[in-house]
């Protein structure tokens, strides 16, 4: 079966990955300063604001769906569990990769493992990333293991499945900490952040918004893959999840505005400054409009409606993270930051690679299938290579992808700063 949508998408993703590879090599050879537009007044930029903060938030779907399915035993949501865990896993890997490029001394990324300073919110973040990545690996590995019909792997699989609930619990505990601790980071900067974004309940706001964002992300993924692969979507259960999104976003809205009101900072919103407009547009996109959309039954129960509403939540909260992490300190530092080409290309590249890996798993493993079908299929497929689907892609496509990748990588050499390598 020929699927042009997939081929086109993958071609674009491979091209972007190619471009990004050159940018990444450039970053590693020439150092952080030359590659980015970061300065002493704006030491955190796109890689932290987008890759790390938004990446973690986008991965929130993993622990939410796991809680719904495994803790609350709501079996009808089970089809969403695997894609959500896969997204979380890839999301966290993307975070780690983004962070790797952002660190001034990347090869010391493991330092928090031995040098402890538990008064730092970032220390908590680092440990949560390390531990949750391990947990996600264990949660997701059955998807791969069930395809390998060899005795030792099956024993491990059996072992892992017995402890699923432990991993789920650990995953939830770590996620609660991690999502909120990203907010804690900014509690240290009252003089840097604009009052509309500085909050003494920042951890709570980050956590609640991550819950809403996670739900929206799961919805978006399911709709997108069903469109890409022409498979039936889980629209009914998605609409059920959609029913709860206004509650979460509503709570977020009340807390956020409530705190601003309590501190007497409401004037900043309507004083006509650009921060005020930024705040209004952020709240509109991330909270108010999605609440309205998800509350209207006909919108919630139509695919385009769900898609638009969920996209707004996702974009809106990425917007929020970037506002908190980067834009809200412009007024204090008096310097405007805009990411460099290399920062943008690398970020886009990391997302592209994550998407390619996601598609690879969807195509070759049972990500979007119910349990019963899985076990049958698992017995049919003896190993990944003879699975057929990999070869199904045909040499033609592989050639095309390789070509596009190399094209991208070489094009990038011309785009990059002329003092080049």
């Amino acid at each position: 079966m020929k699927n042009n949508k997939i081929i086109t998408l993958k071609t674009i993703l491979w091209l972007l990955t190619g471009i990004a590879s050159t940018a990444m090599v450039f970053r590693l050879i020439r150092g952080l300063g030359v590659s980015t537009n970061l300065t002493d007044s704006t030491p955190w930029g796109l890689w932290i604001g987008f890759d790390v903060f938004s990446g973690v938030a986008l991965a929130a779907g993993g622990f939410i769906v796991c809680a719904i399915v495994y803790i609350f035993h709501l079996e009808k949501f089970r089809p969403l569990a695997r894609p959500a865990v896969l997204t979380a896993f890839l999301g966290y890997i993307a975070v780690a990769v983004g962070l790797f490029f952002d660190l001034g001394v990347p090869w010391r990324i493991w330092h928090p493992a031995i040098y402890w300073q538990h008064h730092s919110a970032l220390f908590e973040v680092a440990w949560c990333v390390m531990l949750y990545l391990t947990v996600l690996l264990l949660e997701f590995s059955p998807v791969v293991l069930e395809k390998i019909n060899l005795k030792p792997f099956q024993t491990i699989l059996h072992f892992l499945k017995r402890f699923t609930i432990v991993f789920v619990l650990l995953g939830i505990m770590l996620s609660v900490l991690h999502q909120s601790s990203l907010g804690t980071l900014f509690m240290l900067m009252p003089s840097r952040l604009h009052p509309l974004w500085y909050s003494s309940i920042q951890p709570l706001l980050f956590f609640i918004s991550a819950v809403g964002l996670g739900m929206a992300m799961v919805t978006l993924e399911s709709l997108t893959t069903s469109w890409l692969y022409n498979r039936p979507s889980e629209q009914k259960i998605l609409s059920k999840i959609g029913l709860y999104v206004p509650l979460v976003l509503g709570l977020y809205f009340i807390l956020r505005i409530g705190e601003i009101y309590y501190n007497g900072h409401l004037v900043y919103i309507f004083e006509g400054s650009w921060e005020g407009s930024l705040f209004i547009s952020e709240i509109m996109i991330s909270t108010i409009i999605p609440i309205i959309f998800f509350s209207i039954k006909s919108i919630r129960e139509s695919k385009p409606g769900l898609f638009v509403a969920a996209s707004m939540v996702v974009l809106g909260f990425i917007f929020h993270r970037i506002d908190v992490g980067i834009i809200s300190s412009f007024q204090a530092t008096g310097e405007i930051y805009f990411p460099s080409l290399i920062e943008i290309l690398t970020s886009v590249g990391i997302v592209s690679i994550a998407m390619l890996v996601f598609l690879f798993f969807v195509e070759n493993f049972s990500v979007y299938q119910t349990e019963e079908e899985e076990t049958e299929e698992a017995q049919k497929d003896f190993n990944i290579i003879s699975n057929g689907r990999l070869l199904d892609a045909g040499l033609g496509k592989e050639r095309r992808y390789s070509f596009v990748y190399i094209l991208g990588a070489s094009l990038a050499i011309f785009i990059l700063p002329q003092n080049g390598f």
């Binding site: 300065t39 001034g104 001394v105 003089s191």
Partner: protein
């Protein structure tokens, strides 16, 4: 341990920049080069750990790391590369630093600089000549010795505070009635008496008097409780629902068994 500090009297500063030169020399920071679009090289930078801010009417204010009593940067550093020594200096261990730059984000005075032009960059800031004083090479920071006007003096923080208040009391029309650094963000080891209001040295005019690390510690100290709390609640919910479902299944099979038995009796 005597907590050492610096008192800067901006009314005495003549703006000769001897302190800057001495600092650059002892710390080997190299020549100042403009980085990127920042063409001002007289600002603090990776190669300039102290500098003179020039204000109208020949007002000169020496700018450097404030060595807070409870430094935000040290609480931010996740690997403990930045630490407050008992002697007063906030020092930096570059062997631990991984370059996350959270310290730069957290400093309320915007002090730490980064050697952006280097491929392996590190944090650069005043360390009160800690290593050189510790090894006995010098007895006070190089900038102090270099100052020809005694505009900047070194001593125990308590004594310097007393001296500062003394100066303000003796010359009330010369100084703003405030020792800058006495209370801000929990107090700093670099103190100022000045004829100008020095609130522009902070990122925000109102820095407040609470130490910044307290703000995050409030959230961080509940982490172990939160972690186990979430675990217990979620585990509890799982166990209750699991048990109910099992009982329900048992009941159903029991009922089935009973009805079968009834049928047998018939």
């Amino acid at each position: 341990m005597r907590q050492m500090a610096i008192l800067n009297d901006t009314t005495k500063c003549i703006g000769c920049e001897e302190c800057v030169t001495a600092c650059k020399k002892i710390n080997n920071t190299g020549e100042d080069k403009p980085w990127r679009w920042q063409d001002k090289i007289d600002d603090l930078s990776a190669s300039r750990w102290t500098t003179i801010i020039r204000k109208p009417d020949n007002q000169f204010i020496r700018h450097q790391c404030r060595h807070c009593l409870e430094p935000a940067c040290a609480s931010a550093c996740l690997v403990g590369a930045l630490t407050k020594t008992p002697e007063g200096a906030v020092v930096y261990d570059k062997e631990k630093c991984m370059g996350c730059r959270y310290c730069m984000m957290s400093c309320p005075f915007g002090i730490p600089r980064y050697s952006w032009s280097s491929t392996v960059p590190y944090i650069q800031k005043c360390i009160l000549c800690y290593d050189n004083i510790k090894s006995g090479k010098i007895s006070e920071p190089a900038c102090i010795t270099a100052c020809p006007a005694q505009a900047t003096i070194y001593g125990e923080r308590k004594e310097l505070l007393a001296e500062a208040h003394h100066r303000i009391k003796n010359y009330p029309d010369r100084y703003v009635n405030k020792v800058f650094g006495e209370e801000e963000v929990g107090g700093t080891s670099i103190l100022y008496v000045s004829s100008l209001n020095l609130d522009f040295l902070g990122l925000n005019k109102e820095l407040g008097e609470t130490a910044l690390p307290d703000k995050t510690w409030g959230a961080l100290k509940i982490v172990p409780g939160l972690f186990s709390g979430v675990g217990i609640v979620m585990g509890g919910i799982w166990w209750i629902i699991e048990r109910r479902m099992r009982l329900q299944k048992l009941n159903q099979t029991d009922l089935l068994d009973e009805s079968e038995e009834n049928e047998d009796e018939k």
